[in-house]
Structures are given as C-alpha cells and as structure tokens.
C-alpha cells in the first residue's frame, strides 16, 4: 500500500470510527517520553503545529479537513514532510508555509511524538486470550462487530487497538457515556458527538428515543436500542431533548473484576488489523 493510500485508509478509519475527544486530550505530547531539553523543543513544536497545521489536520494530527498525518514523518521521512510544508501539495488545500527550518523541525518532532497508532501495542497487565472470553461472555458481540461477526448498534472494534490506547478503552468500559466518539473536526461545523441519544416527543405524545444518526434543521433520524431507524420531522415534535452522558453501552464498573477488566483491555488492544480487506481473496 502506498504511503498516501495508507494515510487515506487511516483517515477513513478515523472518520468512520470516530476518535473520542477524551482520548485526544489524553494523547501523549511527549512529556512522559522526553527529557527536559526535548520537552522544550516539543513545546515549541506544539505551538507551531497548533498555530499552522491543526486547522486542517486536527489538534493531534488525526485529521480534519486534511488527512491524518500522525505517521507522515515515518512514511515520508523528515525530508518528505519538510518538502510538503515548504512547497505545499498542488491541487489541494495544502499550501506552502512560510516557516523557518527550526519551526518545521519542531513541528515534525511534535508530530512524531504523537505517532503511536501503528507501533506495537503498549504493554497491558491482562491476558488477551482470557480477555476474549470476557468479551464473549458479557454480550459485547450483541452490539459490536469484530472481523465481520457481531451486532451493529455500537462501533466496529476490528481495529480498535490501533485507534485507542488501553487507558481509553478502560475508561470506555467503566464510564462509556463520558467517552463518546466524535466526527472528525470540520472547519465550518465543528465536530459532532456520535452515538448521542435524543428523546423526541411527538405531537401525539408518542416518545421516540434513539441515537442521532443524522440531523438537519428540519429533520432528525434516530436509531433506537433495537436498531430501528426513526425519521422524524421536527415540525411534528413537541420537544427534542439531548440526553447527555446517556449511552446504550452499559458500564462494566460493577460487573467485571479488576483482572477481567485488564484481560478485556488486553484483548481489545490486540485488535490492530489495519490491512485493507476490501480486495482480500
């Protein structure tokens, strides 16, 4: 797969699966890994990145209007990234930037500090084989798909280990309503929280509750807990309220032991299939 195609696929995966804001907020900025000198460089890089690149590529290089570029320094090399920043990419919104070499170097260092997605899984305390048993035994497949098997109410998890860090997966299992994924940020519209549950009361008093699948000024489409879609005209609603923090995913805070939690996190972290399966024989 070419570098560009890899980037495109990675971006597509992110757009489809969403990346939780809290994960973004928790993304490493180099503080844990770098020494004091390196830290100063990363701060400079972060400022330059935020100011120049984040509008299109997202605050953490995971993409927005522009592609995910977390792995760009790895796939293109420093020289490749420098060339793109200095010259732009003709025919795209990526224009040439008037930055000096120090700033560009700091930006690349910062992006490299973010690029964790395709590296070996971070060590986890659990046992992934046992974790699969926990997954199978707690009804997770009723809502989630892995390798083509499972339900569709929640996000597909086939590549979840590549998309989210173990700490984030743990947080989602314990407090899912506080870890809803979002769409990629959009310059004009911001980013939208996916799987947000709405409660709609129709003029006849009938109540429909479901996750927002799509919405416009005049209509909203909700998917209820049984995966039925409801197309509602806003003109026919008495009220339409968001139910913050509510989610169809239960918390496993009181149902899994600490060891089971470690195991299922280890299992989910091991799901890192980034291959393009569309053309697989």
């Amino acid at each position: 797969m070419s570098a560009i195609r890899s980037l495109a696929v990675a971006t597509l995966i992110l757009v489809l699966c969403g990346l939780p804001h809290s994960l973004l907020a928790a993304s490493p900025n180099g503080k844990q890994q770098a020494g004091p000198g390196a830290q100063a460089d990363l701060d400079v890089g972060r400022q330059a990145y935020v100011a120049n690149c984040s509008r299109c590529h997202g605050l953490y290089a995971t993409g927005g209007d522009g592609p995910n570029i977390q792995r760009a320094p790895i796939t293109l090399g420093n020289d490749g990234v420098i060339k793109i920043i200095k010259n732009g990419v003709p025919g795209t919104m990526m224009t040439a930037f008037n930055l000096d070499d120090t700033q560009i170097g700091a930006i690349i260092a910062y992006i490299r500090s973010l690029g964790r997605r395709n590296e070996p899984p971070m060590p986890t305390r659990g046992d992934k084989v046992k974790g699969q048993t926990v997954y199978d035994g707690n009804g997770c497949a009723g809502c989630h798909t892995i390798d083509g098997q499972g339900g569709s109410l929640g996000p597909e998890l086939t590549q979840i280990g590549s998309l989210r860090q173990p700490d984030m997966l743990r947080q989602t299992l314990l407090d899912p309503g506080n870890a809803l994924p979002t769409t990629a940020p959009n310059r004009d519209r911001g980013k939208w929280v996916l799987y947000t549950i709405f409660r709609a009361v129709q003029r006849d008093g009938k109540v429909v509750e479901g996750m927002r699948v799509s919405e416009s000024t005049f209509a909203i489409v909700l998917e209820d807990a049984k995966s039925n879609f409801h197309s509602l005209s806003k003109a026919n609603l008495r009220s339409l309220e968001k139910e913050p923090r509510k989610t169809y995913m239960p918390s496993f805070k009181d149902t899994l032991s600490a060891a089971q939690l470690d195991d299922i996190v280890a299992y989910l972290s091991s799901l890192r299939d980034l291959s393009d399966t569309r053309n697989a024989q």
Partner: protein
C-alpha cells in the same frame, strides 16, 4: 394625417417594444432603474443598493407551499462548491460554474445556450480562498467575469466570445478573482483576493468597452504615504478587497470593503491600526479617490475581513432624512453609517461577541482583554469565519428590515512565531497562527436574523442546525428565502420568521454543502426562485 399616424406608430413602437430593444442591449440606464424591471436580476446584489430584494409578488406566503423544481442544471465540471449568485436579463441566466466557467442558460428551461471556460494554468494559486467565482456583471452587450487566475474578461453576451481580457495581478504570488465585478456607467470595477500570502490589496476600474485600466486604488499605503504610520514601521501587507461593493449614483460614490492585514493571526510585527484594512472605503468611481473611510476592526488578528457587502438605504433619524448604509460585519457587529460622511450612527452585536464589549462613540470596538491569539489557543466569539463572512445580507425597504445569515460559533485562536526575515510576498501562506473552529457542532448554530435596519434591534430569528453560507433573498410579498448548511432550501414569512416551505437539495449531516445566494426573476409571466446547492443550480416555480 398620414404623418401623424406614422409618428403615432413610431411612438407606440418605442413605448411597446422595449423588450425587443433591450434584448439586444443592457445600457447603464436599465441597471440604474433596475427596480422598474423586477423580472430581471441585473447584478450580484440585485441592484446598486445590494438589497437582494425583489418586487415580484406571484409567489406569496399563501401559495409558496406549492413551490416545485422547474428545472435543474448540473455543473459540467468537477471542482469547488458553487458560490454563485446568477444574473438574469431578458430570460437569459448567466451562471458561474467553479472556478471561472460562465454559462448562459435559458432561464425558463435551464437549457445551456453557450459556455465559456478560461484556459487556466495547470496550477492555480488560491492560498486562503476557494477556487470559485461568485458571479458576473452585465453591461450593454457584454458579460464580465473575474477569473480565478486574476484576469478580468469581457464576453459577448450572445455568444460567449471573448471581447477583451486584462490581467490584474500575478496569480503566481496569489492574486486571484472570486468576486462578481460591478458594472456602472462605462466602467467595470473589481478587486482581487490574496491577503493570506501578503499581497497588497487594490480596487481597479476598467473601461467597459476596451478593458483599458482607468484607475487603481491600493487599499494599504506604501511606506511614507498617509496611513503608513499606523503600521508601526512593520511590513504593510494585505487588505485585499475581494468582495463586491455597492453604489450610490446620486452621491457618485461606491462603497467597498477591504480585507485583513497579513499575517492574519499575529499582529506583533504591525503594531497600530493597520489602515486601511478591515475597512469600508467610499470611493469616487471617476477618480478612484477615497472620500471617507471607516475601519471596523483596527489591528485585526482574527481574520475578520471587512469585505461584507453594504446595504444602502434612506431613513429618517430624529426627524431628519438621512442617507445611510448598514453592514453586518465579520467581527460580529452590525453597523449603521452615514453614507455621505462616513459618520458612525449606530452599532450593536448581532451574534455572541466576546472580543469587544461594545463600540465607542466613533464606532471603534472596545476590545476586551485576553482576546488576542495567544501562544496557547484562546477561545473567542465569533469564530475566524465571523458573525457572517462574505455572504450578503438582504433588505426589505417596505418593512425596513435587514436580514443576515448569522454564524453563532466561536473558535480557538493561536499565534505562531513570525519569520525573522521580511516576508517575500507570494512564497506561501503567512497566517502567523490559526483560528480553529473545533467547538462541538452541537454548541454552534446558524440563524437567519431580522434586524431593524436603523437600530440593529432583533425582530425575530430562525435557527438552523449549523452555521450556513447562504444569502437571504427578500421579496415584496413578505417572503424570505435562504438555505441551511445541510442543503435545505426554505421560505420564511419575512414578518415573523415562520417556516412556510422547505425542499431538500442535498448535503450531509457532517459537512458544509451549500454556499449559494438565491435570486428570483420572471419569464413569460411566471416567477422563478433560483437556488444552487454544492453541485447544481435549481429553479423553483409554482405549478
């Protein structure tokens, strides 16, 4: 008797067949009196006052529910989203397909009559703006288009053949034309885009017949010229006048807005007000000289261009008749100015405003602390796209109501270190930072707002799912047309804001898909309303 009959016939011919004659020609006089021909939509803003208002009354609040698509024209080439506001003259519609293709359509059927596409260079520089044109101008037997590679081209109105073409600026350093030109008596006036690379803004006037340049007005001074002292000795860059202006033929003044200084988000290198950026200029179109100026946003660091189209109107204030203009500006304030003198009359925020707590007696923003972009992002309302961006307002002179498509959105603003060396214009974007609109979509929205034209006081609002990029269109039958960002084209009662009709043209939940400016016209006694979504032009009519 015979002679009398002949003269009577001649008189009758002259009185009864203006359409025959006018089909050949669109003299300045017809543009000047556009209100007397509501069947035509002569120019970008509808008329010289930029009211986006029509006296057509066939479509009413009572029957608008029956509005149906009459035809759809699909763009002939891929590219940026359509941002065009078409012109309609005598049954012919002139549209722009992005970036700079002019197509003449039969306005009754949508059938293409001719189409002209410029030979563009393989790579066109469009740093900081979209590769799309927002419309054409017509005068006499020609149609005028500003191309994305910065040429002003006159086309034969009947065939699309090129009559003349001039280059305004070098596209290699980021000059490009996205605005609709203005046609007045014998002159075509237009200004280019490009401030994001630091180009020096200007407004040009050309002889409509020959393309000879009549004057050029630079919007920012050379070092040593008046106004240069407001740049603190720094590089004087930007001020591109990239949208269209309005025209008062009696005062013989055109009113034209100017864009942001460069770099956009870091003003450290240009301490001072940075004249005449983010300003409105009142210009004598015969000489290109500025009669007065009004700066909306001194020392802008939020990319709040002052290029919004002003609406010209007359009103009585304190018992005195006044010639006024109003602007809903990107910085979030609604301004009323005396258009004879430039005096500030009134100003209030029309969106959530955290940059300034108000305007002082002269209309200068009273800026709040911690609103300048920081090395860490600072949240400011409105966003870098502003309370409104380039999208025009509408004005109903019968109800004295100003309509604006307001953007309720904030953004995180951050600045970056400036290069140590002076900027070489055209070598790339010199934003000096960024304004990131990363607030949750659910925390932002758009709204059509109806304001009292002299005070800015809100009469009503119609909320939309997301901030939208579609101009309102007002009619004498008390309708207001516009569209939301998801591609729903709608009609409101312009007295109340109540939704009367809507039609889904396309678009999606998570992306911005519609950026047009609807118009209305009449052919063979039937009124049409035209709206473009991202990829198609649609004309609606009653069955």
């Amino acid at each position: 008797m015979k002679a009398a009959k002949f003269f009577l016939s001649l008189l009758l011919f002259c009185l009864c067949s203006p359409s025959k004659a006018s089909a050949q020609d669109v003299p300045y006089k017809r543009l000047l009196h556009s209100d007397t021909e509501p069947q035509n939509w002569f120019m970008y803003g509808g008329d010289y006052q930029s009211k986006r208002f029509s006296f057509l009354k066939q479509i009413t609040p009572q029957n608008v529910v029956n509005l149906r698509p009459a035809w759809i024209y699909q763009r002939s080439r891929p590219g940026e989203m359509i941002e065009d506001s078409p012109v309609v003259v005598d049954g012919i519609m002139y549209i722009v397909e992005p970036p700079s293709t002019v197509t003449a359509l039969d306005a009754r059927t949508g059938l293409a009559i001719w189409s002209w596409t410029p030979a563009l260079p393989r790579v066109v520089k469009v740093d900081g703006y979209h590769a799309t044109s927002r419309g054409v101008a017509v005068l006499d037997d020609m149609v005028y288009i500003g191309t994305i590679d910065c040429h002003l081209v006159a086309l034969d109105r009947k065939t699309g053949a090129v009559r003349w073409s001039v280059t305004l600026g070098d596209n290699k350093i980021n000059y490009g034309l996205t605005a609709a030109p203005m046609a007045i008596d014998g002159k075509i006036i237009i200004g280019p885009s490009g401030s994001e690379d630091g180009v020096r803004g200007f407004i040009d006037a050309y002889d409509a017949k020959t393309g000879k340049r009549l004057w050029r007005l630079y919007t920012v001074p050379d070092p040593g010229e008046p106004g240069s002292e407001t740049w603190g000795g720094g590089q004087i860059l930007g001020g591109a006048a990239w949208n269209k202006g309005s025209y008062d033929p009696e005062l013989n003044l055109i009113y034209w807005g100017t864009g942001n200084p460069a770099p956009d988000y870091n003003g450290d290198g240009r301490p001072g007000d940075d004249l005449y950026t983010c300003s409105l200029l009142a210009i004598n179109p015969d000489t290109g000289k500025v009669k007065w100026y009004f700066q909306y946003t001194p020392h802008d660091t939020h990319d709040w261009d002052g290029t919004q189209v002003p609406v010209l109107f007359n009103a009585s204030l304190d018992g005195k008749p006044r010639k006024l203009l109003s602007v809903a500006n990107r910085n979030g304030f609604y301004y009323v100015l005396d258009r004879v003198t430039g005096e500030f009359v009134a100003g209030v925020p029309f969106v959530k405003e955290t940059y300034a707590k108000g305007l002082d007696a002269k209309g200068r923003p009273i800026v709040l602390p911690n609103t300048d972009p920081g090395t860490e992002p600072v949240l400011v309302y409105p966003s870098n796209n502003g309370g409104v961006d380039w999208v025009s307002p509408a004005y109903n002179p019968l109800s004295k109501t100003f309509f604006v498509n307001a953007r309720e959105m904030g953004a995180y603003f951050a600045k970056s270190k400036l290069p140590d060396k002076p900027l070489v214009v055209g070598t790339g974007m010199v934003m000096g930072g960024r304004g990131n609109s990363y607030l949750s979509g659910d925390d932002s929205y758009g709204a059509i707002r109806a304001l009292d034209v002299t005070t800015g006081k809100r009469k009503w609002e119609f909320k939309m799912q997301a901030p939208s990029w579609v101009a309102p269109l007002a009619t004498a039958s008390n309708l207001l047309f516009s569209a939301d960002d998801e591609g729903d084209f709608f009609a409101l009662d312009s007295n109340t804001g109540k939704v009367l009709w809507h039609f889904r043209t396309g678009g999606s939940f998570i992306s911005s898909d519609t950026r047009s400016s609807p118009i209305t016209y009449e052919v063979n006694g039937k009124q049409y309303v035209e709206a473009a979504d991202g990829d198609t032009f649609i004309a609606f009519a009653l069955p």
